[in-house]
């Protein structure tokens, strides 16, 4: 498809450690400019592997065996390394799950935001500082001067996540990968951060891949969704369609198993064993066909 910011085409990957066990099975997905795509699944579904593959940070034990990752039409897996490096951290940036380990504990916040602007955008020291201050205000940090001079441990979890959102958008990237960015936060802070990511994304016209296991978060922030199980795409489509008219039994079962404080009668239904049997049969059939 043309005009897509990101398209993952028939991506397959194996784990070298587990004797070539498949991790991604022929995954395809695409993302238009300015769109928010939810990458959803339970643990082991492959959602983080896809995010890491796009960011070029797959662990050494995982090898891509087939497929393409196209960024603005160009295959990143076939590009010279220098070209990949010029894209990552600049046109594609990351909002990580754990804001504490993503920040250097021994450096103040200021240089951690301005480094990229100075080195890769060629801004002067004072220009970069002014830009950082503006970004921190944009993410609703009340006292940006103080935060620029602070060390990471002096900020709360929610504040650190705001700093990293500011850093991710500082480069005016075309694509932001948000890897479970609210999993470690309290619900009230989570809501603020979700609102902030959506607002930044709309203001800057950025496309976002939002990795999450929470269908509630998906419903509130994603335009489209791709649901994965065991490295297979199970269902993808517009968020409203998928939640209101789920096509696959696994999608239906996942929605029914999510607890709801407003409807204790409908939530928390365990996923029937027949659904997992069906999934395992699909995966086995795919693997057989692959080997043939």
């Amino acid at each position: 498809m043309s005009g897509q910011i990101l398209s993952v085409e028939s991506l397959s990957a194996v784990s070298l450690r587990e004797g070539g066990q498949a991790i991604l099975r022929d995954v395809s997905l695409s993302l238009a400019p300015g769109e928010v795509l939810g990458l959803v699944g339970e643990s082991g579904a492959g959602k983080s592997t896809i995010a890491k593959a796009v960011l070029g940070i797959l662990p050494s034990g995982i090898r891509i065996t087939e497929g393409r990752i196209r960024f603005e039409g160009r295959d990143m897996l076939a590009m010279p390394r220098a070209e990949v490096r010029s894209i990552l951290g600049s046109e594609i940036t990351l909002i990580p799950q754990d804001p504490l380990s993503a920040l250097n504990p021994g450096r103040r916040i200021g240089p951690q935001i301005t480094d990229g602007l100075r080195l890769r955008r060629g801004l002067s020291r004072s220009e970069a500082r002014a830009r950082a201050l503006a970004l921190l205000s944009e993410v609703h940090i009340r006292d940006p001067e103080r935060v620029l001079g602070a060390f990471p441990h002096q900020l709360s979890g929610g504040m650190r996540q705001r700093v990293l959102i500011a850093a991710a958008f500082s480069m005016e990237p075309k694509l932001v990968i948000a890897d479970e960015p609210t999993t470690a936060l309290d619900v009230t802070v989570q809501k603020q951060i979700l609102r902030l990511i959506r607002a930044m994304q709309e203001t800057h016209g950025t496309a976002v891949v939002f990795v999450t296991h929470d269908l509630g978060v998906v419903a509130q922030i994603c335009d489209r969704v791709t649901l994965l199980y065991a490295g297979r795409v199970i269902e993808s489509g517009h968020t409203a369609d998928m939640l209101q008219r789920p096509a696959h039994p696994y999608t239906r079962a996942l929605i029914a198993s999510s607890p709801r404080y407003d409807r204790p009668d409908v939530g928390l239904a365990p996923v029937p064993e027949s659904v997992f049997e069906g999934l395992r049969a699909e995966i086995a059939a795919f693997d057989r066909e692959r080997r043939a």
Partner: protein
Amino acid sequence: MTAPLVEARDLVVAYGRRNRLFGAPFPGVAVLHGVNVAIGRGETVGIVGESGSGKSTLGRALLRLVDAAGGRILFDGEDITRKGEDEIRPLRRRMQMIFQDPMSSLNPRQTIRRILAGPVLLHGLEVGPAAADRRVAAMVERVGLPQAVLDRHPHELSGGQRQRVGIARAAILKPDFVLADEIVSGLDVSTQAQVLRLIADLSAEMGLAMAFISHDLSVVRAICHRVYVLNGGRIVEEGDCEAVFAAPRDPYTRALLDAIPLPEIDPGWLQRGTGDEAA
């Protein structure tokens, strides 16, 4: 109402309290400021709040795992606030705990069989390994695990299976009171639903008094009869789940509920409530 099995009255807990060489002792930093909680037999009570609210401290204080700086803890009518460990020990079997992360609460070097049989023998519930093994086998079946797990070690099990072992280890001692601290927060939703079903069935079967600590109000709504909402070490709201969730009286409870994203399209949700400013 009959007398509660577990009770906290005007409970104050402070961390970092110590005596000084001269002058008054350093009072420490209070994390619970006079909390009243009562849990009856057969009752599952939710304790909810955000990080730093004091919910885990409250749970630990009920089990006398942290000391009270003020107020009282009662267990089955007995004041246990100041009892020494020797006096508490006979009660320990009757009060059990299920932890958030079974990986760090199960001995990694022991098989599941030993993990479950050890406490049975220690507390003298069965005499001899053969009888203990029979009890272990029955409990493993009750929590929905195959007998094959008995010879495995914790790291060989999935997260959901490990949490079932954690539940089995508490239930096998036939306790009267169970503290469950964030027991499903690390699990996938499909697994979470199964584990919650199991814990609800077991506690009904055994007539347990259960304190169910969670940051997830949807989960609490699903399995608790009553709920206490903690904010900054104080109870801001309590009542039957049905009433509290349908019409919360405290603005903090309201804010917590409004912040939960539900799996349905709600175009106004993202912009509603909860301030934007970060200090």
